[in-house]
Amino acid sequence: MTIEIKTATLEPIRNTFEHTKRRFGDKPASRYQEASYDIAPENNFHYRPMWQPEKLLNDTSRTAVVMEDWYAYKDPRQFYYGTYVQARAKLQEVTESNYAFFNKRGLADRMSDEVKSKIIRCLVPLRHMELGANMNNVLCTAYGTSTVLTQAFLYNGMDRLGIAQYLSRIGLLLDGNSTESLATAKEYWMTDSAWQGLRRYTENTLVLEDWFEVFIAQDVVLDTLVYDLIYRQFDEAITEEGGSDLAMLIEFMQEWHKDNSRWVDATLKSTVAESEHNKELIGRWVAEWQEKAVADLAPLAEIAVGEEAVKASVEVLNKRLAKAGI
């Protein structure tokens, strides 16, 4: 007797949501597309926000940048909540094992006092800038227009809190959990002349109203310069001075910046390519903030790395901007 196995194919009634279908066509959509596109409400609001009655909720006029379609963006990492959490969990696992190793082997004790105090002076106070960066990115989430952008801003904001915490832990590893280094670092942030430029810059970005300008000032200009200056150049300088074990503790920031830059570059590129108006506007913002950032970072760069350090970072920034078409 032969048994014939039959297969019955059940066709799904629909491939995806209606709004996803309108954008991408009638075919199976990815989770990223379903979770990111055409999600935020755009019309038929009952009430205007009481805190800003002249504008609607999710009003596109909260930035001077004009986009025909605010969903023209795509995160090259395709992060929605699920993939974002997975990616970060993976990165964090590596980092935690690095920190545990650093602690277990007592690598902090092998650093000289000069190296330790240089790290506390040049690296640990950055946690205050990271908190500013967190607030800036969350502001973009709050006032930004489309989910495809605002979700990425929120992930960025969360990452910055995580980085601030890792910076605090570097301080704690160096001072044997006495929190003394954190108090010293706060004092540097508030009074040390090397840090006052960066503090002023951060505070200036906190009072901006145009969320896209915040994105330019923080994520494009400042982050490119600071991350190149500290996590590349300062890393090299401190390695020369016998603090190479620090590299284990800041790998998270290096990896994160590489990852995040892909999204920043893609966002910048799409915006600039949209119109001459955007290109001109963003070019102006970049020039304005870059000038401030270079002047404000110079004293920190000098004590952390050396005189030519800012120049090298500006070159990195210019390369990125050129790629985006500015």
């Binding site: 019955a8 194919t9 199976p28 990492r77 395709q78």
Partner: protein, 89 residues
């Protein structure tokens, strides 16, 4: 000339691989079967790491193809950047 073919399990990950194959091999035929996607082409089929990574939005190794692979036909040439299937004339 005969057709080379590859069949993958129909799941979240394979979808991106199929999209990448469609982009790199415009002449290929994609056949959706129950729980399986079969792709055929005359003579030649290539899967490129770079295209799959672009579709997925993350790093991907060509070796990871085997996780979702059901069957394939053709002479295999695999390295770090691509996997190609061909028949000799």
């Amino acid at each position: 000339m005969s057709k080379v073919y590859i069949a993958l399990q129909d799941n979240e990950e394979s979808r991106y691989i199929v999209e990448a194959i469609e982009e790199d091999n415009p002449d290929a035929t994609v056949i959706y079967q129950p729980a399986m996607i079969r792709i055929e082409n005359e003579g030649h089929l290539v899967i490129k790491r770079e295209t799959v990574e672009e579709m997925m939005g993350r790093d991907w190794e060509v070796m990871a193809l085997h996780v979702n692979l059901i069957t394939l036909g053709g002479n295999v040439d695999e390295d770090e950047d691509q996997l190609s299937l061909t028949w000799n004339d």
